[in-house]
């Protein structure tokens, strides 16, 4: 039984990581309808710059906690300028140009990080929190895991507040609904897409910093995160924060249960089956209503 509980706890922690990546996707997608293929690489940049700040520069934790999200936000804003903005201006001609373009940017990020850090041995990244945690029966909910879950919850609450309360949040939702109508009401679409990428970058940066102590300084991990975040969103439902929460947690817990009952060899295969199952039964994800097509 405690193995099962362990799996659930581990699932919630890992699910929060997937959820954090998913929320980053969603905050960009909601405002721009761009699925940012470099999102996982942004998280990876967060992890690697945490490593750089903490392990190489020996900065204090609070310094890294501020600098890492700021840096990743900057990278995301650069991405918006270099790889995305052009495609938002164009009308439908090459509908998925941004897909190829953000794929290209993810290659740029990965290669740049690889060139900078590729030769160093993969090492652990220090955490602000001690080892250990709360005991639940025989299971342990680690402080570091709890930190990820707590950050995920905080990010969600802040994002919901941002979308509901601030002018920019409302403007983003309006732009997502109808780009033209929003710009006629004085919302500058360029400001919106830049802000959306900044938000996505910020989320990825916070996520990267929080995840870093749980993983290693591996510059090739970006693509895996990109795919895992996508899985979480595809399962939960695209375009909603709730979809990212449900999808992330569901994916995390299922992965742990796959590992427990089927063996770790089947974990990736299990995820694929889960994804195909969702796509077959409920293609739009668990938390998304189908939008009527307009002709």
């Amino acid at each position: 039984m405690y193995l099962f509980l362990d799996a659930i706890i581990g699932g919630i922690a890992i699910g929060s990581i997937y959820g954090l990546i998913g929320v980053g996707y969603a905050s960009i997608f909601n405002a721009t309808k761009v699925f940012n293929l470099a999102q996982g690489d942004l998280v990876m940049v967060g992890i690697m710059s945490s490593y750089f700040a903490l392990d190489v520069l020996r900065w204090p934790q609070w310094g890294a906690a501020l600098a890492v999200p700021a840096f990743v936000t900057l990278v995301a804003v650069v991405e918006e300028r270099v790889a995305v903005r052009f495609h938002l201006k164009k009308v439908s001609a090459n509908r998925l140009g941004w897909f190829i373009s953000t794929l290209g940017f993810s290659l740029l990020i990965e290669t740049t990080v690889n060139l900078s850090f590729g030769s160093h041995p993969v090492v652990a990244i220090p955490s602000p929190l001690p080892l250990g945690g709360f005991h639940l029966g025989e299971s342990l909910f680690g402080y570091r895991q709890l930190f990820v879950v707590g950050t995920f919850a905080a990010v969600i609450v802040l994002l919901e507040l941002f979308y509901a309360r601030t002018w920019m949040g409302k403007a983003m939702r309006a732009t997502a609904e109808d780009r033209e109508a929003a710009s006629l009401r004085g919302v500058n679409p360029v400001t919106i897409s830049r802000a959306a990428f900044a938000l996505g970058g910020l989320t990825a940066g916070v996520g990267g910093f929080v995840i870093a102590p749980l993983t290693f300084s591996d510059p090739t991990i970006g693509l895996t995160y990109t795919l895992d975040g996508f899985l979480a969103l595809a399962i939960g439902g695209f375009g909603s924060i709730r979809g990212a929460i449900v999808g992330g947690l569901l994916l995390g817990i299922s992965v742990q249960l796959f590992d427990l009952y089927l063996g770790i060899r089947f974990d990736v295969l299990g995820r694929l089956v889960l994804l195909l199952l969702v796509l077959t039964v409920r293609p739009e994800g668990l938390f998304r209503t189908t939008v009527a097509r307009s002709v």
């Binding site: 052009f86 290209g104 795919l227 595809a234 990736v268 295969l269």
Partner: protein, 654 residues
């Protein structure tokens, strides 16, 4: 002699293959070099295969190595364990089967959403295959599978001969993809690439067509996997990783998706540079990434595609004014593989279409389009009257709280023009979308005789004989008006799709008939002098007329026009009116949604007026134009003495 991009591309393919054949003489015969060249060939074959999905059908497929790896791994596994599977042919059969099965498993669910979902799912598939292979000892785990361990495995042929065989396979796969692109199936794929809605409006089922593209691409992908394993004699997880997939897609897109030459040049060029110039691979991601961003932004058709377009643009400059089309020659049609080869080397401008004449046929200025429209030549619209009316009964459709259509009754009689008018937002377009199946009805019935139409798919309804146009014309933007109309005329082409891909005699004749029909339709609406120009550079009015011609070319029972006169010049409105009248005279039923009331009242036999989703008046133009509710809706309460700006209804046979 006329020079066009298509010819340039063919010359390029032949040139690259010749270079491919000679390559061992240039870079050396050592086993290590040949091993690299063989691997490069396998990737090039894979890229040409993937181009069928990515380029022709426009579906994001990011996991090419998944199919490649599944086939390769299975072939290697069986070859190690069973001696009789050790020949190249046997390995190809095994690999192709595995690749087909995997393509089916992944495409069936993932195609339901398509778009980037498909891209991400297939990229994930590439990760899954690699990870699974690296975790199971049966597949050699991290070390992969090696045929060197097999005592009985022996390459036949070996060395340079094997490499040249690979070049031959690449040539065949290139021909295969060219045969697909230049066939009726290829035109279907390009319709799906443009948009599902467009494809459905000409009766093409998008899902099935995309699935076909996947399976067609899976075959050569499997062959590529088999050739890789056979020539390298090993397969390791790293060589088929998702990153390798991304590299193949990058090479394909940079080289030019949708072209035959682009994928070969892109993948062989970029991966070749990577393999043969040491130290480059560290920076490979920067080059790929940078090029991808640039290509996605400014060269959507890639290096070769852009070169092709520019060549066309440059050499067409002198004859853009009047691109006359030569009547298809009477010589024996080139058929089968050999015929396909002959046509491959022929200098036809557009795949599957007759070559344009070198001379300028006629040179009419655009604004005389109206005068070009003489009496309808016989046979364009076969007269028919043997079908029941299209009846909409008590149809309802709400979007959230908005009742867009609330209780619509409508009967479109064969041979009559039925106009549907009403203020903006009164539910006219929704009504049309309900009939065509783009929206489902909440309640009510739509039928032709006994056949219920409601809640069938739009492409099914189009195939049942209901053709439509859109408020904003939906054309294949980069294609010519001729190709756009041929897309519709193809609906009634004889012969199977397989026959079309193999360029059978029958399909050649069918293509010729479709082309001839499309041309006479274009001549009828006065666009034949621009039949081969690019549709996207044409005026809005011309695009509308071309779209109507495409709808008519489907030989429908009913023609549904959504605001066809909007944005048309006076001359074009004249053409439109004649076309609509002729269509009705030929026995077809027409539903005309239009704001231009003089046009409506001049053409319509029946008028139904919608207001806020309800029918407020129906009857002859004369009755409706004096109906108080109609005047009220159009002119407001304070103008009860007003009159609608309507001419007296004219004789409908004019």
């Amino acid at each position: 002699m006329r020079f066009r991009g298509g010819l340039l591309e063919k010359a390029g393919v032949v040139g690259v293959l010749v270079i491919g054949v000679l390559l061992p003489n240039l870079v050396g015969h050592s086993a290590a070099t040949l091993g690299k060249l063989d691997a490069l060939l396998a990737l090039a074959i894979l890229a040409v295969a993937m181009n069928i999905v990515l380029g022709f059908a426009g579906q994001l497929f990011l996991g090419p190595t998944a199919l490649f790896a599944a086939g390769g791994y299975l072939a290697a596994y069986l070859a190690i364990h069973y001696e009789f599977t050790q020949s190249l042919v046997a390995m190809c059969v095994i690999s192709v089967s595995a690749s087909l099965v995997l393509a089916l498993i992944i495409a069936l669910p993932a195609l339901r959403i398509g778009g980037f979902y498909l891209g991400m799912t297939t990229l994930y598939l590439a990760l899954v295959i690699t990870t699974v292979a690296s975790r199971f000892n049966a597949f050699g785990a991290e070390h992969g599978l090696s045929l060197y361990a097999s005592l009985t495995f022996e390459q036949r042929p070996t060395g340079v001969a094997l490499y040249e065989l690979g070049v031959g396979i690449l040539a065949l796969v290139a021909l295969y993809s060219w045969l697909i692109r230049s066939s009726r199936l290829g035109r279907r794929l390009s319709a799906v690439r443009a948009s599902d809605v467009l494809a459905q409006s000409v009766g093409i089922a998008p899902y099935r067509t995309k699935l076909a593209a996947f399976l067609l691409a899976a075959v050569p992908s499997g062959i590529a996997g088999a050739f890789y394993v056979y020539s390298e004699m090993f397969i390791v997880p790293n060589s088929v990783s998702p990153n390798q997939s991304i590299d193949v897609v990058a090479g394909l897109v940079i080289g030019g998706s949708g072209t035959i030459l682009g994928p070969i040049i892109g993948v062989a060029g970029l991966s070749g540079a990577d393999q043969f110039f040491g130290g480059f691979e560290k920076y490979q991601g920067l080059v790929y990434g940078g090029l991808l961003i640039v290509v996605a932004a400014v060269l959507p058709s890639g290096a070769i595609g852009t070169l092709k377009e520019q060549t066309d643009r440059f050499f067409a400059r002198t004859e853009l004014a009047g691109t006359g089309l030569r009547e298809p020659g009477s010589s024996r049609p080139p058929t089968g593989i050999i015929g396909g080869l002959r046509r491959f080397f022929a200098r036809s401008a557009e795949p599957g279409l007759p070559a344009p004449a070198d001379t300028v046929a006629d040179d009419l200025p655009d604004n005389l389009a109206g005068e070009r429209t003489v009496a309808m030549p016989g046979g364009i619209i076969p007269p028919r009257s043997d079908f029941p009316p299209l009846v909409v009964h008590d149809a309802h459709r709400a979007f959230g709280g908005v009742k867009a259509v609330a209780g619509l009754d409508l009967t479109i009689e064969p041979g009559k023009v039925h106009a549907l008018v009403g203020p903006n937002g009164s539910g006219k377009t929704t009504a049309l979308n309900l009939i065509c199946g783009y929206f489902g009805v909440d309640s009510g019935e739509i039928c032709i005789g006994e056949d219920r139409l409601d809640n069938l798919s739009p492409d099914r309804i189009a195939r049942m004989g209901i053709a439509r146009t859109f408020q904003t014309p939906r054309l294949l933007a980069s294609a010519s008006p001729l190709e756009n109309v041929v897309l519709g005329a193809d609906r009634h082409a004889k012969g199977t799709l397989w026959g079309a891909v193999l360029h059978s005699r029958r399909s050649w004749v069918a293509d010729r008939e479709s082309t001839a029909r499309a041309l006479s339709l274009l001549r009828w609406i006065g666009v034949d002098n621009r039949a081969l120009a690019s549709a996207e550079v044409m005026s809005h009015g011309t695009q509308r007329l071309v779209e109507i011609a495409r709808a008519i070319s489907l030989e429908p029972k009913y023609l549904l026009l959504d605001e066809p006169a909007a944005g048309l010049s006076i001359a074009e409105v004249e053409v439109l009116s004649r076309v609509v009248r002729a269509v009705a005279n030929a026995g077809l039923g027409v539903l005309l949604i239009e704001h231009n009331l003089p046009v409506v009242f001049g053409l319509a036999d029946q008028v139904t007026v919608l207001h806020q989703g309800r029918v407020i008046a129906a009857g002859s133009p004369a009755e409706v134009s004096v109906h108080p509710d109609v005047i009220d809706v159009y002119l407001g309460h304070n103008r009860l003495d007003g009159e609608l700006p309507v001419p007296a209804p004219t004789d409908s046979s004019s």
